[in-house]
């Protein structure tokens, strides 16, 4: 109870990772991802090192392995693409378990899998330890244009309101004997979507009216300032800074 915008990616906690100001964590994740993608794919040991670093962060944030793995499922469509590469990329052939595959294709697949998984895992950790609202305020602090920040904030605020409206429309349809069973019914669904759009648009106008009535002049007042001190920056940047030497070694090696 008393939750802010607890969404399903967020995992409530009071670990040192949770406590860091959001914008420092955003910079840290971006830095980490840049280091990871710069690493040559042949340096397999380097990726094991990065994975160990993330595992350490997860342990520090007390995010269970199962939770992390389940969230990684978002990556599956990209994995499917990566798995195709050994069969479609032309080049030197080799045999794995009796199947002919291309060597550059295998390296390509590994490259996508390793870097993609590390990037997604870092993002999942960020989302699990930072509230959605905090992320948006963090982006604002990092200089994301105010208009984009406002749009994102309204998405959080009104997502549930619009979903609720959609649900009520669906109940009203079904109460009058409508079941979407095939292409023939798509027309009705399309009209509902249109009606929902118009309702949301009109709500937008009413919200704007309420905002103007309370002194809105185009910018949102920035509240909840959470400036970061040196120690917090140092703690957040420990992740990319620990990854950097691994990358440098791999580049030299």
């Amino acid at each position: 109870m008393g939750a802010g915008h607890a969404h399903k990616l967020y995992r409530r906690g009071d670990s040192p990772v949770h406590g860091l100001p959001p914008h420092t964590k955003l910079v840290a994740v971006l830095g980490f991802v840049l280091v990871v993608v710069t690493t040559p794919r042949e340096a397999v040991w380097a990726f094991a090192g990065y994975a160990a670093l993330l595992a350490a962060v997860a342990a520090l944030a007390r995010v269970p392995v199962g939770f992390l793995l389940r969230r990684l499922a978002i990556e599956v469509p990209f994995v499917a693409f990566a798995l195709l590469m050994p069969f479609v990329v032309p080049g030197e052939q080799t045999t794995v378990l009796g199947v002919a595959v291309s060597v550059p294709g295998l390296w390509g697949a590994w490259n996508i899998l390793a870097k993609g998984t590390l990037g997604v895992a870092a993002s999942v950790l960020l989302a699990a330890t930072t509230e959605l609202r905090g992320l948006i305020l963090g982006l604002q602090r990092l200089g994301l244009p105010s208009l984009l920040v406002q749009i994102a904030s309204f998405m959080i605020r009104y997502g549930d309101v619009v979903t609720d409206e959609m649900r009520r429309m669906s109940i009203a349809r079904r109460s009058r004997g409508f079941e979407a069973r095939g292409v023939r019914h798509w027309g009705v669904l399309a009209k509902s979507a249109g009606a929902l759009f118009i309702r949301s648009y009109e709500r937008g106008e009413r919200v704007h009216l309420a905002m103007v009535s309370r002194g809105y002049t185009g910018t949102m007042p920035l509240l909840d300032e959470r400036p970061a001190d040196r120690a917090q920056w140092a703690a957040a940047l420990a992740l990319p800074l620990a990854a950097l030497p691994i990358c440098l070694l791999a580049l030299l090696g």
């Binding site: 915008h5 605020r157 009104y158 309420a210 309370r214 002194g215 002049t217 007042p221």
Partner: protein
């Protein structure tokens, strides 16, 4: 200054851009500290009138004065602070991710920050009995709670006059009574637009009837509600079994 009325509207007329004329010369004065109900059938121009009070709509003719300050481009920020409008749907009114940020929006727009801002937010929420809900997102509150938070969002700017659009709509009887308690406890001028005539009688000693774009009646609420001929002429009807004279 005590004699300056909170709201003074003179000869206000307005036609929408499509040519539809909604107001035909409205005159009304509301003294400081008064609680007044604005009654009228659907389409009488009530909402149009309300949107003139804080300069969302600009008068075609006539004038609106809030605490001696003419409504116009020159003093717009000040006017919007002095006139607190609570809209009918709290989901429109509460647009920030948390109750605290929403209540802080008005005063923060006016430049308040830090501890002073926190104190204002705290006080506004206390006035409506919603202290302790500051960190909740609005959509996790009940409808009655959201309506009270909506009142707090405008109280935070310490308005001269509180304008409520259908404050009792969609409230269950307990929430309706709680809101009435809150409104009675406030030391502020109130203009309440409503179809809920018993609620008007309960809270507002004086009523105005807006009909076809003009003020058709202005007097003690009980007298207006008891005047059957007047009520019928302006499509106003009391709920079944309700007799204004019999209510203490």
């Amino acid at each position: 200054m005590t004699s300056t009325p909170s709201l003074d509207v003179r000869g206000l007329a307005y036609a929408y851009p499509d040519g539809h004329q909604a107001l035909f010369g409205v005159d009304l004065t509301i003294g400081r500290g008064e609680r007044v109900a604005l009654l009228g059938p659907n389409g009488a121009g009530k909402t149009t009138l309300v949107l003139h009070l804080n300069g969302i709509l600009a008068a075609g003719a006539g004038s609106v004065t809030v605490a001696g300050l003419p409504v116009g481009k020159k003093h717009m920020a000040e006017i919007r602070r002095k006139v607190g409008i609570v809209f009918q749907d709290p989901d429109d009114q509460l647009f920030m991710p948390t109750v605290r940020e929403d209540v802080a929006f008005g005063p923060a727009s006016a430049g308040l920050r830090g501890a002073a801002l926190d104190a204002v937010v705290e006080r506004a929420l206390e006035k409506v009995g919603m202290a302790g809900y500051a960190d909740r997102p609005p959509h996790h509150l009940s409808f009655g709670q959201r309506r009270r938070v909506a009142v707090a969002t405008v109280l935070a700017t310490e308005p001269e006059i509180l304008v409520l659009d259908e404050p009792s709509s969609n409230l269950d009887p307990a929430s309706r009574r709680e809101l009435a308690d809150v409104l009675r406890s406030l030391d502020v001028t109130v203009l309440m637009v409503t179809h809920d005539l018993p609620y008007a009688l309960e809270l507002c000693p004086r009523s105005l009837v807006l009909s076809e774009g003009v003020i058709a009646a202005d007097g003690p609420t009980r007298e207006i509600l008891s005047d059957e001929e007047l009520m019928t002429r302006h499509r106003l009807e009391l709920p079944f079994g309700f007799v204004p004279g019999s209510v203490a």
